[in-house]
């Protein structure tokens, strides 16, 4: 990423951290060839959409590719005996 893109990524990460529809600290963002690529996991579709909206607002000149996934809970695993 060039210098300008690196600062854009920093500003978008800050926005995602403090936006009350997201408050995510671990969204991965890269910018290359006119495209912003978002990845990571969030707990709900609403938060995924909010990340996408904020990225589009802050990066109006870039195509935003949203590869963020919404993670699903699976059934509890069998117990682990930690002191055996």
């Amino acid at each position: 990423m060039n210098q300008e893109d690196q600062y854009l990524v920093g500003k978008l990460q800050e926005a995602l951290a403090v936006d009350d529809h997201v408050n995510a600290l671990d969204i991965r963002i890269t910018i290359a060839h006119g495209r912003a690529h978002l990845s990571g996991e969030v707990p709900t579709e609403e938060r995924r959409a909010a990340v996408h909206r904020i990225a589009c607002e802050m990066l109006p000149d870039l195509e935003v590719r949203n590869d963020i996934t919404v993670f699903e809970l699976v059934a509890a695993a069998k117990p682990e005996a930690v002191d055996d």
Binding site: D20, N23, D26, E41, P43, T44, E46, R47, F71, E72, L73, V74, A75, A76, A77, K78, P79, E80, A81, V82, D83
Partner: protein
């Protein structure tokens, strides 16, 4: 044997209504207690606290929690704590509790913990007042953890944290952010005081299993990592098989 269900980083919001409750309502079939390792809400405001309370109300097992950094974002951590306590959840902030479960005593020392990093790449109380204050918070958290663990009179002692006490369970996270994910002083407190198990969250991309330099098992139960409504850990054989257990000694003395 005590069965401990544990999870952290559930990040409840108004968009997660009822996500966990169906799983937690059946907890008594699988566990004796539920421990929550912080980041219970996404920002700790009143609306999210209401959702959290609805998830946790009248669960079939005792619930003990610490708060996480997200729960502090709206400067309403005391509101979150009071709401949880109003439904019988025990919240530990540099405190401890002892529960009588399955015929033995489970002592839990809980605190949020803080960052600072790990030997070779950690902060110090040096330079600007802000840096000294940052590291002082970590030292204070570790000190309280050690004191509380030492004071517990129980068959099993568990440390409940949000921040990581070792870097083993951070593997998978970016190295650059380790100092924001945990601190070695917490692990040192565990090793000095002793514990049977340490649980933490905060590191969504870390690793579930680790150990302190002194050999205490550490488990990262961040929900985005374990991808389950809780993990279950068992401690001990039946208490009658455990020589010198606190309950056995206490019974012998009475």
């Amino acid at each position: 044997m005590i069965r401990i269900a544990a999870v952290g980083d559930i990040h409840v919001g108004e968009d997660t209504h009822g996500r966990f409750r169906p799983h937690w309502l059946e907890l008594d079939a699988h566990a004796d207690v539920l421990l929550l390792a912080g980041d219970l809400t996404n920002i700790g405001n009143a609306a999210q606290t209401e959702v959290l309370v609805a998830e946790l109300r009248d669960l079939p097992v005792p619930v003990v929690a610490v708060l996480g950094n997200h729960d502090f974002h709206c400067a309403n951590a005391q509101g979150v704590r009071q709401a949880l306590e109003s439904i019988g959840v025990t919240v530990l902030e540099g405190e401890s509790v002892t529960l009588e479960l399955a015929g033995c005593k489970l002592g839990i020392a809980g605190t949020k913990g803080f960052g600072g990093g790990f030997p070779g790449a950690c902060g110090h109380k040096f330079g600007e007042p802000e840096m000294k204050a940052f590291m002082q918070v970590t030292e204070d958290e570790a000190h309280r953890l050690e004191e509380n663990l030492r004071a517990l009179r129980a068959d099993y002692r568990v440390a409940l944290l949000h921040y990581a006490p070792v870097k083993d369970t951070l593997a998978g996270e970016r190295l650059e952010i380790y100092p924001f994910l945990g601190a070695y002083q917490l692990g040192e407190a565990l090793d000095r005081a002793g514990a049977d198990l340490a649980l933490h969250g905060h590191a969504h991309h870390g690793t579930e299993k680790g150990v302190t330099p002194g050999g205490i098992p550490v488990r990262n139960v961040a929900m985005p990592l374990i991808k389950r409504p809780y993990a279950i850990y068992t401690l001990g054989k039946a208490v009658s098989e455990r020589e010198g257990s606190f309950s056995a000694r206490e019974a012998a003395l009475s």
